[in-house]
């Protein structure tokens, strides 16, 4: 029984559409849960700057405020460990997702980012067996998600030596930054067969290619609505083919239910994996339909969905 339990969301960043979608999903699902009396409260807290120190302080405040569980999207997989440990010591359930933490006392809802990177190359290998030149757009330097996706892409390229990464830039998971960086390196690149990305950067890359009047390569997308819509337009116009992959922002709601289940006394494994959300040529239209204008393709979890994930992993 968790009717008197209070759950907090500690979030380190709210500055892009993915994060806003994540907060919206949280808000929507937890409000229902509170109204139905499943839990007593589910408050969201976001730090002003994307900083581990600020988030650590925030978590310590949440401990003081007596929350029973804290759901964390962490600024750093390791730098919050001190604060997370304090929370565990105070008897608080800590569930991390997306930006997960390494502290053993916490639960982790992880996306296999490495596999996500590798899947891009696998898709490309099937689509263009003869291989070709790749441009890699990376995320924010110094952050672990960037490192993992990159590692996956590298592993994929090693397995498929017909592909060669001829250029790499940091797009910071933002369309405009990616556009700027790609436009700068593009003139000095040879013919590009495909662009591998991390999400939030595909549309910017497409614009840079269009502006430079270069043949449009296969750009792997990252589930943002503008990316999907651009893909749809190209598909209708000239049969453009690609795939899109990213973590669904609604994973915050899964984390919420996991926390609730743990509080409810359920035995839950410390490491859960959620599948990333992949969109292909066939289900593009369906996904575009269900994606909010300007938002991100999303999957929200109900209690039953969550129980399935927990069960499947047992």
């Amino acid at each position: 029984e968790t009717a008197d339990k209070r759950i907090a969301l500690s979030n380190n960043y709210a500055g892009n559409s993915w994060r806003q979608a994540m907060l919206t999903s949280w808000d929507k699902i937890t409000k229902e849960a509170v109204n139905e009396g499943t839990v007593a409260a589910a408050d969201a807290f976001t730090t002003a700057e994307n900083q581990a120190t600020e988030q650590a302080a925030q978590i310590q405040n949440l401990i003081l405020q007596g929350y029973d569980a804290i759901v964390v999207n962490a600024a750093s997989p390791t730098a919050l460990n001190g604060a997370i440990k304090e929370a565990c010591d105070a008897g608080i359930v800590v569930v991390s997702f997306d930006g997960i933490v390494t502290e053993p006392c916490a639960w982790r809802i992880a996306v296999d980012f490495k596999a996500m990177g590798e899947s891009q190359i696998e898709y490309l290998a099937k689509k263009m067996p003869e291989g070709g030149n790749l441009l890699e757009i990376r995320g924010l330097a110094g952050v672990s998600v960037d490192d993992e996706i990159h590692a996956g892409i590298q592993a994929g390229v090693e397995k498929n030596p017909q592909f060669k990464i001829v250029g790499s830039v940091n797009g910071d998971w933002a369309q405009d930054v990616a556009q700027r960086a790609v436009a700068g390196i593009l003139p000095s690149l040879p013919e590009i067969a495909a662009v591998v990305t991390q999400g939030g950067d595909g549309y910017g890359a497409a614009q840079a290619f269009a502006a430079a009047n270069r043949p449009m390569p296969t750009i792997v997308m990252g589930n943002r609505e503008d990316e999907l819509r651009w893909w749809k337009e190209q598909k209708d116009a000239n049969g453009y083919e690609t795939m899109s992959v990213s973590i669904a922002p609604g994973v915050s709601t899964l984390a919420f239910w996991v926390a609730q289940q743990i509080l409810d006394g359920k035995d839950v494994k410390k490491d859960l994996t959620v599948p990333f959300l992949r969109i292909d040529q066939e289900n593009l239209e369906a996904n575009l339909e269900s994606t909010e204008k300007g938002g991100v393709a999303n999957v929200e979890y109900s209690l039953e969905d969550a129980q399935k994930v927990i069960g499947a992993d047992m």
Binding site: S17, D176, R180, G184
Partner: protein, 315 residues
């Protein structure tokens, strides 16, 4: 005598020289084939740094301690609000522009009110302001990317006579800024205030009024840049201004405007903006990682300031 005069205008030469060197180094890597494409891309993206840089330059010219850290948040809010108001309709383009300008005016007024009425140092006043503006941007649209009107976005991304339209706008703004600085009374006034605000006051210059107008001008240019950038990149993002905080300051400083105030330099901002884009492209082209890129950027800033020298002691 003319040698003495040239001394004052020399610093900006270096930013152009540096930009040229980096351009050659990048083009050379590809055996010359990238010359045209690289130049076009450089002009396009330098344009945005130029627009915010010009605004920041006006503020920095006001003398030590004057700086506007609210540039990124202003860009974000104006882009977000303008695209929301326009709502993809071509007919609303001018209304959107007006909204952007009003956002700039409001933030400029807010900044100077904090500086003047509450005596908060500009560096902290504008930072606090930027937090509030950022929250406002989140509250208005929750980060949803609204597309710009078709006409506006195709204007922002296309070329006239082979030159990117945004670069032409930057040129227009720089020309106006240059005329303001070199030919107008206002330009004389900010330069005088930057050299000594007390002497300016004693020469009959309305110091507060001039400073106020300058902070508003800087915010309006940032807002305009946000409007253009959002139209150019297919929508406003909550973090779209982030890059332009240090960028706006760096292009001013590297461009040869005196940090001690009083001496500003429009051409230098062009040189420095071209250079800042090219240096990243070059390091990307040569395959350097983020760490080396940062270190080189820092060393270059220090090298330029060392070469340009401090303000020489005057008799």
């Amino acid at each position: 005598m003319s040698a003495v005069r040239n001394l004052g205008s020399r610093p900006w030469i270096w930013s152009f020289a540096a930009a040229a060197i980096v351009w050659v180094a990048t083009v050379w890597f590809t055996g010359g084939s990238s010359a045209f494409g690289l130049s076009q891309a450089t002009l396009t993206f330098a344009a945005f740094s130029i627009i915010v840089g010009v605004g920041q330059m006006f503020v920095i010219t006001l003398g030590p301690g004057n700086i506007d850290l609210s540039v990124p948040a202003t860009m974000t809010l104006s882009g977000t609000l303008a695209l929301k108001v326009m709502d993809v309709q071509d007919g609303m383009i001018l209304v959107g522009l007006l909204v952007a300008v009003l956002v700039g005016v409001a933030i400029g007024i807010g900044n100077y009110a904090l500086i003047k009425l509450l005596r908060i140092p500009p560096i902290i006043a504008t930072l606090s302001m930027s937090f509030i503006v950022q929250s406002f941007a989140i509250w208005t649209n929750r980060g949803l990317r609204i597309k710009p009107p078709e006409m506006l976005s195709s204007f922002a991304t296309s070329y006239s006579f082979g030159i990117p339209n945004v670069a032409l706008i930057a040129l227009l703004i720089s020309t106006v800024a240059w005329v303001l600085l070199e030919k107008s009374i206002y330009g004389r006034w900010i330069s005088a205030i930057g050299q000594s605000s007390f002497a300016a006051r004693m020469a009959g210059i309305p110091v507060d009024g001039t400073r106020f107008v300058t902070y508003v001008l800087c915010a309006v240019l940032a807002a305009l840049c946000g409007y253009l950038l959002a139209s150019f990149s297919g929508g406003a993002a909550l973090n779209m201004g982030a890059e332009y905080l240090l960028m706006s300051i760096a292009v001013v400083v590297i461009g040869g405007t005196a940090v001690a105030g009083g001496n500003s330099n429009v051409p230098g901002i062009w040189g420095a903006s071209l250079f800042m884009f090219l240096v990243v492209s070059m390091l990307n082209t040569y395959g350097f990682g983020a760490g080396v890129r940062l270190i080189l950027t820092g060393l270059i800033i220090i090298a330029v300031i060392l070469a340009a020298g401090g303000r020489k002691a005057v008799r």
